[in-house]
Amino acid sequence: MKKREFLTVFLLLLPVLIYFIFLFVYPFIYGLHLSLTNDEGKFTLANFIRFLTDPWDANTIWITLKIAIPATLLNVLIAMPLAYYMRHGIKGEKLISFLLILPITLGSVFVAEGMLTYMGPNGWLNKILMALKIIDKPYRFTHNYLGVLLALIIQGFPFVFLMLLGYISGIDPTLEKAASILGASRWYIFRRIIFPLWMPGIAMATSLNFVMNFTVFPSAVLLGQPSGPTRVISIAAYQWAFEKFDFHMASAIAIIMGLVELIFILIVMLIRQRFFKIVATSGGKG
């Protein structure tokens, strides 16, 4: 009987295990191995040292952070108030959700193409702004830092918003009613009830969106200046792999990317935990 149960569980888990081992564990270990060896297959840290000591390459970490962190924060900060107001559902919610899901389904290349035309020097946006006399000559929205940032917001915002909305809608609305009858104002309810209960969702959305933004590639190439100000870390990895054909070096960069993401997520989790504790045990200050 016991044996049979084990077999059933094993068989049910098998597809996931296969998926996990072949598409995650194996490539990860293979990449880690590549990053820690040289052409002769000997163990070395040279790849990491080389990347981190070369200013042209090492700087890409900083460049990517400078794009990814503001994009993530903007996405979360814009999405939060909107999700808050829509938490109990509003009229036309389906249409709004549809419009928001659109950029996700279109893919980053399509969005980038659209932005290049729409926001380009002869695009509608510039024409409208000039017609309204807000600007007198076309403003450069693309092929720079701003272009990449905007692309990340257009694609990342719906994702963050839908995640935050899903999470906040799950908070029992009677909690708000109970708090308001106990005398709490809207702002007090937000601070003491909704925000702390929302925090895990916010942390999750922030982390996932940061990972999306930190690995940005097509938008940085199409809408930025991939040879300079928006030469993000994934471009560096690409160049080492497919222009210089040094897979050891490229793998080392991929591992570094992973480490940076991990550090960011750990920081988010630490903030979350610390915050949660303070709220949960909130002492004298009311």
Binding site: D172, T174, K177, A178, A179, S180, I181, L182, I193, G286
Partner: protein, 369 residues
């Protein structure tokens, strides 16, 4: 703050879409009273409670506490400024706060000094016997303990009015009776004016000073538990409070309080209560259809001096203390009896029964809901 004479709700109206869910609700509640809104689901009782709390806007009428306007559609005091308390059906405890912090929540908003908060929270928790769970989180508590926490959170702020929305309906039967007793004890002790919403007639009878019976958004009857139980004003109230055996009858003869009518092939006699006499006489004069109603426990087994019938038993249920019998009289009229007598009957058995005349309630047709 707690000192007021009465809460006056006048002509309260509430629509959901085109549907009138509360229809001209009028009620005056005296300070310290325990009022129950009793009715089946969808009768508007929770809507009325939420309107009084200020959680939903009203579409007509007004709510006053003495001269202070709480809500008349134009002037509206938001729920957080009403100084009411409410216990929800699902308790609505804050999951990220301990029992202590849940109960202290309202006091912190009122900027009560920390030492006083501690004292008042502990007092409230002692009152509901939860002192030892003070540092637990809601998820670590049982249903009954969560219920007590919600109650403590409600009473600790000394609200002017306490609103209870089916607070016992998620508890198991034994716990429900225990909590009912505690609710009553707390009300006696603190004297907080209370509006209690339930669909359970036992709870309503056990707890209330007055009961408001509602159906389809309309008040059916307001009265003390005794009045409601013994003298229901119409068939709906009668049925909701345990009257069964509702039969259409033809009047043969009426004289003062005595009335004689035909049920199938049987002739029955009833004695009208003074309260109903005039109403029934008028109805008979206007040739209205009459219905009678009898509680299952009021029908006796055996040969009686009057109103004797023969019943064919179809089903007998053994319920411990009582036995419930279902069957037919006169071939096709359904009848339900409950009895303390230790009899054993089989389907198809025929027994003699009789109905004491003063136990029969008579209602004219228009009162049938």
């Amino acid at each position: 703050m707690k000192d007021f004479k009465e809460i006056k709700i006048q002509n309260l109206v509430k629509y959901y879409g085109n549907r009138k869910v509360v229809d001209n609700f009028n009620l005056t509640i005296k300070n310290g009273e325990f009022i129950t809104l009793l009715g089946p689901s969808g009768c508007g009782k929770t809507t009325i409670l939420n309107s009084i709390a200020g959680l939903i806007p009203i579409d007509g009428g007004s709510i006053y506490i003495d001269d202070e306007c709480i809500d008349d559609g134009k002037r509206f005091i938001p729920p957080e400024k009403r100084n009411f308390g409410m216990v929800f059906q699902n308790y609505a405890l804050f999951p990220h706060l301990t029992v202590f912090e849940n109960v202290a929540f309202g006091l912190r908003i009122r900027k009560v000094p920390p030492s006083e908060i501690r004292e008042r929270v502990i007092n409230a928790l002692r009152m509901v016997h939860l002192e030892e769970h003070i540092d637990k989180y809601p998820r670590q508590l049982s249903g009954g303990e969560q219920q007590r926490t919600a109650l403590a959170r409600c009473i600790v702020t000394e609200p002017r009015l306490m609103l209870l929305d089916e607070p016992l309906s998620n508890l198991d039967a034994l716990l429900r009776i225990e909590m009912r007793y505690e609710l009553k004890a707390i009300h006696e002790k603190l004297g907080i004016t209370t509006i209690y919403v339930t669909h359970d007639q036992q709870e309503a009878l056990a707890l209330s000073d007055r009961i408001v019976v509602l159906n389809k958004g309309k008040i059916q009857q307001i009265g003390t538990p005794e009045e409601i139980y013994s003298y229901p004003r119409n068939l709906f109230v009668a049925h909701f409070l345990g009257f069964r055996n509702i039969w259409n009858v033809d009047v043969i003869h009426v004289k003062d309080r005595e009335i004689e009518f035909k049920l199938g092939d049987f002739i029955l006699n009833a004695v009208l209560n003074e309260k109903y006499k005039e109403h029934i006489h008028n109805s008979i004069r206007d040739k209205k259809k009459l219905y009678i109603s009898i509680r299952p426990e009021d029908i006796k087994i055996g040969e009686g001096p009057i109103n004797s019938l023969e019943m064919r038993v179809e089903v007998m249920e053994y319920l411990g203390q009582v036995r419930q019998l279902w069957g037919y009289i006169n071939g096709n009229i359904r009848i339900e009896i409950s009895t303390f007598e230790k009899i054993i009957l089989n389907p198809g058995d025929k027994i003699k029964i009789y109905i004491p005349p003063e136990r029969i309630l008579v209602f004219p047709e228009e009162d049938v809901q």
